[in-house]
């Protein structure tokens, strides 16, 4: 990259700090959640895992609520992007974004033009939005007042917490792998928030074309 490289601000500080807290709370939650599912240890250790699960769960909730309030416009934009579909999405999924070809066959295939999020990211976004909300709500119910809920509802909370927990853990593995693979994006999210214009034009041409504006100074 040349020194005259131009940059687009992709992740402002609010997004980055939200994401940091999300990482710091969700990864312990996922690990302790899996342990709590299999119950392999003795009383004290299981209790310790449950306490970590509870504390990180509270952190994640506060993080999500704070971002929902502070970054409400960005949440709405995220919802809009995640739920806008076009014929390109079908094409994208039919070749799975070209990733299997890239990793397995070492072959580059033409990928339909994408917005800020590609179709896979949109699917992930929808799962995180819905699943995350359900996990937070059911988690508080199961922690705080399972005895007040009607039994069938408490059991439903348990099932939902389990299903979406596993779903998000599986998505998280893919997300971590691809996130590190796209190293420019990784740096943007964890360091400075910017990605190079060329990279953006290749990965998200529609975004650059329709949504990105030059800053007037």
């Amino acid at each position: 990259m040349s020194k005259n490289q131009s940059w687009i601000l992709k992740h402002p500080w609010s997004v980055r700090s939200f994401h940091y807290l999300l990482v710091l709370s969700f990864i312990p939650l996922a690990i302790t959640g899996v342990v709590l599912f299999f119950k392999p240890f003795d009383q004290l250790t299981m209790n310790l895992y449950m306490r970590i699960h509870v504390v990180t769960g509270v952190i994640l909730t506060l993080d999500a609520v704070a971002y929902f309030i502070i970054g409400f416009t960005r949440v709405i934009a995220f919802v809009k992007r995640s739920f806008s579909f076009s014929a390109n999405d079908i094409k994208w999924f039919s070749i799975l974004g070209g990733y299997p070809q890239k990793f397995l066959l070492r072959k580059k295939v033409a990928v339909p033009p994408m917005g800020k999020y590609n179709s896979g990211q949109k699917l992930f976004g929808i799962c995180v939005l819905i699943g995350g909300t359900i996990l937070i709500a059911t988690g508080w119910g199961l922690w705080g007042f399972p005895h007040i809920l009607p039994h069938s509802m408490a059991a439903l909370f348990g099932t939902l917490h389990l299903v979406f927990g596993w779903l998000l853990i599986l998505f998280l593995l893919v997300h971590i792998f691809l996130g590190i693979y796209m190293f420019d994006d990784f740096k943007a999210m964890f360091l400075h928030g910017k990605i190079p214009c060329e990279e953006a034009k290749e990965m998200a041409p529609l975004w650059v074309e329709r949504e990105v504006v030059k800053i007037e100074r």
Binding site: L36, K39, D42, Q43, L44, M46, N47, Y49, M50, R51, H53, V54, L142, W143, G144, F145, P146, H147, I148, L149, P150, H151, S152, M153, A154, A155, F157, G158
Partner: protein
């Protein structure tokens, strides 16, 4: 089972309620229902039940969201074998609360009153019927009279002939979980328990003596009594070794017909068990039609409300009022002891015609031991309690919400607003 159990007599069943470790999620719901803190296991870890502390009430069982708590005692098949044995007369003793709940197991609306259908299904299965409501009326006669004796002893110094007079306040003794609670935690208050047995334990000897000899004309040793109860603690109560009074009574008259003592109540089925028995015997409860119960199924409105919180108190007030004043209580509904409050209190001022004096009796009804009983008991221990007669039922709402009742998936027994919230330890 646990041979080293310390709070059980020889012959009693320890550990009627148990937790299935494979299903337990460590959510702590059960702990919040347990009246004695018998559930061990930290938040997030697998829970288990301390049989020494457990009073077998089954509230955790009907309130576990994940269905991981179960009963270890199941005698449905034994009862079916007895029903098919022509030499055995099986006497079913259905409790008040069963008749408003068993319909739920067969798809009827909550609280459907199905006494006659229940009699019909029981007759079809081969039971003779001694309605526990009949025994409840008998309980009121005995326990109410006992209260009058105790009250007159305390107020007027009247001496009773032939037996000891216990102190006030008098506690009801109908609830076996409550009796075990006193026995394990407040032994100093044992004399305050009414000496009257619970209706089930009155019905057992009644069936084997009066019923066998005068009603069914069968040898007492061939009578097999089955309590049909909304309650898991009744299984424990029936196994108490001292409850063989019918045998000893008959032995003295040379009519026992056996040299080994037999229990007053041979076995207990919960409401869930009896529904399962009907299903196993292919009896369609909804199509069985209405039947009368026979001579020992005669009961009054006072007997049937035993299943509700405050019901024993209300029934006792109706009878004691009549005995003391000579007049019926007007109106018969004694509404102050009804409702879902944790501790309900009332007082009745009446004229004791025998002494010609006006007396005020303070009554209390404890609706659910958990969270309600301790202040009441502590004030009695401290000598500051104003009450003379206290009804205690372990389960919130009374026997209708007992641990043996059909499990309502769209409900929960929690009566209070919220607290305690949030598990930690």
């Amino acid at each position: 089972m646990n041979a080293e159990a310390r709070t059980y007599q020889k012959g009693e069943i320890p550990g009627i309620i148990a937790i299935n470790a494979d299903v337990c999620k460590g959510c702590d719901s059960c702990k919040r229902y347990c009246p004695t803190g018998a559930i061990t296991g930290m938040f997030g870890a697998i829970h288990s039940i301390d049989v020494e502390k457990c009073i077998n009430c089954g509230q955790c069982l009907i309130n576990c969201p994940f269905g991981s708590i179960y009963e270890t005692v199941d005698t449905v098949d034994t009862v079916i074998v007895k029903l098919q044995d022509k030499n055995v007369t099986v006497v079913g003793i259905p409790a008040p609360a069963v008749r408003v709940a068993i319909g739920e197991e067969f798809g009827m609306a909550d609280g459907s009153l199905v006494t006659k259908e229940m009699y019909g299904a029981m007759k079809k299965a081969g039971f003779e019927i001694l309605d526990n409501n009949f025994a409840a009326d008998l309980t009121i006669m005995e326990e109410g009279t006992e209260f009058i004796v105790r009250a007159r002893h305390a107020l007027f110094g009247e001496e009773a002939h032939g037996h000891k007079v216990g102190p006030l306040p008098q506690f009801t003794s109908c609830c076996p979980a409550w009796v075990r609670y006193v026995e394990t935690r407040y032994p100093a208050l044992i004399p305050n328990l009414s000496s009257a047995k619970s209706p089930q334990q009155m019905a057992g000897p009644l069936a084997k003596t009066y019923g066998a000899l005068e009603v069914w004309k069968k040898p007492p040793e061939t009578i097999y009594t089955v309590g049909i109860m909304p309650c898991t603690a009744k299984k424990f109560e029936a196994s108490r070794p001292e409850f063989t009074s019918a045998y000893h009574f008959l032995k003295k008259e040379g009519k026992a017909g056996s040299d080994t003592p037999y229990p007053d109540v041979d076995t207990v089925l919960t409401t869930r068990d009896i529904a399962r028995l009907f299903k196993k015997m292919k009896i369609d409860f909804t199509k069985v039609g209405e039947t009368d119960g026979g001579p020992l199924a005669e009961y009054t409105g006072a007997g049937t409300i035993f299943g509700n919180t405050g019901g024993v108190m209300e029934a006792a007030v109706r009878t004691a009022y009549k005995v003391l004043t000579g007049n019926e209580l007007q109106p018969l509904e004694f509404k102050k002891v009804r409702g879902m409050k944790g501790v309900k209190s009332a007082s009745v001022t009446l004229m004791d015609t025998k002494y010609g004096k006006e007396v005020t009796v303070n009554l209390a009804v404890v609706n659910g031991i958990h969270g309600n009983i301790e202040p009441v008991l502590e004030s009695i221990m401290a000598g500051t309690s104003p009450y003379h007669f206290i009804e205690v039922m372990n389960c919130p709402g009374g026997c209708v919400n007992g641990g043996g009742q059909p499990i309502k998936s769209d409900g929960s027994s929690w009566l209070r607003v919220a607290l305690p919230l949030f598990g930690w330890k």
